[in-house]
């Protein structure tokens, strides 16, 4: 039973219980934060990239690519122009186009955007890893005044199939006038996707035309009121839409079709590849995540500084201990190794505790995060990239602990077998 060096380390660490525990907690929390931010960053990025899948092109009036993506997919901001229905309808018959889903935006319901579209929306729009939309309850809209609501709309406002809703003209806080004369009936609720679809109210294109029959230029035509039961007498075929999602027969033709649309004569159109523009957008948003990562790296540095401070401040109290070890035959090198072992042990234990903490935390908040923010955080242990981070933390601890270890080395050279203070 030769007493191993780590036994000495363990006993010594145990002896300085409270300081050690506090240091350990500081390291564990900083590791939790670092990995948590890194994980959230990756998950947010993949949630973001998975907002729309299976769509090859988005077409709208000519503006910026990011702007088109923002208003058509994320429902952020408004289109500066819309597109005439004839242009969009013509694209539907293009030989390379497999399907086309028009989008007509501009109305809202209690803060949620209303999307005028066709039943093809439910057949072709995919999210995540090419997952089609599913109905949690009910079915797609059929009649003019039918509506389908996203999961979050249903959850927030307590809607189920059969509920009556009233749409408002315009979007956001300026949704002043209501289309109160033409109420809608909820026919279906979509399953949660973690995308802006959850926050949408989907109606047919004809419905958009119908509620605006007695409107012109953004306000009600004075004296004209067309009750809901008479709208069928009018021509409800769409005149203009905001954008369209396009799926192609063969993905290989995407650049050719895009160029064709972008260079076509007549009404100026813009076709974008959603994946490419999503990446572009993420690069803008990504600055924030990199700042977050830098902040959490600093927190780790603070944790390690705490480790070094604890060790250094304990050193003067341990000079006797080191002198005794020296008399027993420990070389200054042994003393150096003893101190290094101690901080690496603390760093490794801190990392392990931090990972456990993160696991418990992510298991706890994952459902809430998904429900409230649509960010999918998968509780998991550690993956390879996180192991690299952890190794980095331990390496940094190793590097930082050279300071106390070197001081201990100097002490043991100067003190020898007796403490001279």
């Amino acid at each position: 039973m030769r007493l191993p060096l780590w036994h000495l380390t363990l006993a010594s660490v145990r002896n300085r219980g409270l300081a050690t525990v506090l240091t350990l907690v500081a390291i564990a929390l900083s590791v939790t934060l670092l990995l948590g931010v890194e994980r959230l960053r990756n998950d947010a990025r993949s949630s973001f990239a998975n907002t729309l899948s299976g769509t090859d092109l988005i077409v709208g009036a000519r503006s910026g690519a990011v702007q088109l993506l923002l208003y058509s997919v994320f429902h952020i901001g408004d289109a500066t122009h819309d597109v005439s229905w004839s242009r969009i309808d013509a694209l539907r018959t293009h030989k390379d186009v497999a399907w086309l889903v028009p989008l007509s935006l501009g109305d809202s319901h209690r803060g949620f955007r209303v999307v005028g579209t066709t039943a093809d929306f439910f057949a072709h729009v995919q999210t995540g890893n090419r997952q089609p939309l599913r109905f949690a309850a009910g079915r797609a809209f059929e009649g003019v005044f039918d509506a389908v609501v996203g999961a979050e709309v249903a959850a927030r406002l307590g809607y189920a199939p059969g509920a009556k809703i009233v749409l408002s003209h315009g979007a956001g806080e300026f949704a002043a006038a209501e289309h109160a004369d033409k109420p809608f009936t909820v026919t279906g609720v979509l399953a949660r996707t973690g995308t802006p679809v959850d926050r949408s109210v989907l109606v047919g294109l004809a419905a958009i035309e119908a509620i605006h029959l007695d409107w012109q230029g953004g306000s009600r035509i004075p004296g004209v009121e067309i009750p809901a039961q008479f709208v069928a007498k009018f021509d409800l075929s769409p005149k203009r839409v905001t954008a369209a999602l396009i799926g192609l027969e063969r993905r290989t033709t995407v650049f050719r079709v895009q160029r064709e649309i972008n260079t076509a004569a007549g009404e100026p159109l813009l076709a974008i590849l959603p994946g490419v523009t999503l990446d572009e957008l993420w690069r803008v948003v990504g600055v924030v995540e990199r700042v977050l990562l830098a902040v959490s790296a600093f927190v780790v540095a603070v944790g390690l500084a705490g480790l070094v401070a604890t060790l250094v401040s304990s050193l003067s109290a341990r000079r006797r201990e080191l002198a005794i070890l020296r008399a027993l035959g420990a070389g200054p090198g042994d003393v150096f190794v003893l101190l290094m072992t101690e901080s690496v042990l603390l760093a490794v234990a801190g990392c392990a505790l931090g990972v456990a903490c993160l696991w418990a935390l992510s298991a706890g908040i994952a459902p809430w995060l998904m429900a409230e923010h649509g960010v999918q955080l998968v509780p998991r242990f550690v993956d390879q990239s996180e192991l690299v981070w952890l190794a980095g933390v331990v390496a940094a601890a190793l590097l930082a602990s050279v300071i106390p270890a070197w001081r201990a080395y100097r002490y043991s050279l100067a003190d020898g077998m007796t403490v001279r203070m």
Partner: protein, 238 residues
């Protein structure tokens, strides 16, 4: 191996023309023309504080390196050894007992006694079954076995000194160096401790270099010398 090349006639410690200066000091702290501790001899070295005795013991232990002269311990010229070799030599062949604060406070008494075996495979080998060796030494030094599992910090000063003696003796080092080991003890316990220490050293055949300022103890030893008699530098630093 150092131990194997040793002959019986070798002195435990032999100094000749030894001189040591603390860094930056103009005067030597230790300046000894000649001093010998014979093998198996139990020597009382009288030295008040400031006479350079701690420095001398650090030199003999190989923690400090002499600036001039010859320093042979158990037949080995320490000046010729590198730092790590001197550390290993100290671990293998010398047992130390200090005035107080001898023990690692958070280790058990048993772990404290066994500690030299951690740094010296040779002493571990000589001790054989370390658990049995600890128990045997503890028995000789009147340390109850239930005390051995307790942290050293919980022991009385007298018990701590006996644990320190057991630690100095485990693995049968050829030289035991004691620096004022009894000054923290009262008179009755001083005698009892000295009995145990002298008896154990005799039983193990170890040479004992016992340093103290308390001349009342000197009569129990083979020989008594005053450090100031042969350390030419003593008065300058006192």
């Amino acid at each position: 191996m150092v131990a194997a090349s040793r002959t019986v006639s070798d002195a435990a410690v032999a100094l000749r023309g030894l001189r040591f200066y603390w860094p930056g000091a103009k005067q030597a702290c230790v300046d000894i023309a000649e001093f010998t501790l014979a093998a198996g001899e139990r020597l009382f070295l009288h030295g008040p504080s400031g006479s350079g005795k701690t420095t001398l013991l650090s030199l003999i232990g190989g923690v400090l390196r002499a600036d001039a002269g010859s320093l042979r311990v158990l037949g080995t010229e320490l000046a010729a050894l590198s730092g790590p070799r001197r550390d290993r030599f100290r671990a293998d062949h010398i047992g130390f007992i200090f005035q107080q604060f001898n023990l690692i406070p958070y280790l058990s008494a048993a772990d404290n006694i066994a500690l030299p075996c951690r740094f010296s495979p040779l002493r571990a080998q000589r001790a054989g079954d370390i658990g049995a060796a600890v128990a045997r030494l503890a028995g000789h030094l009147d340390l109850p076995s239930e005390l051995l599992a307790r942290p050293a910090a919980e022991l009385s000063v007298g018990q701590q000194q006996r644990v320190a003696a057991a630690r100095a003796l485990i693995g049968a080092p050829a030289l035991v160096v004691a620096d004022e080991p009894t000054s923290a003890l009262d008179a009755a316990r001083q005698d009892a401790f000295l009995d145990l220490l002298l008896g154990e050293c005799a039983a193990a055949g170890a040479s004992l270099l016992f340093v103290s300022h308390d001349l009342r103890l000197a009569g129990r030893f083979d020989r008594c010398v005053a450090l100031s008699d042969f350390n030419a530098a003593a008065e300058a630093t006192a």
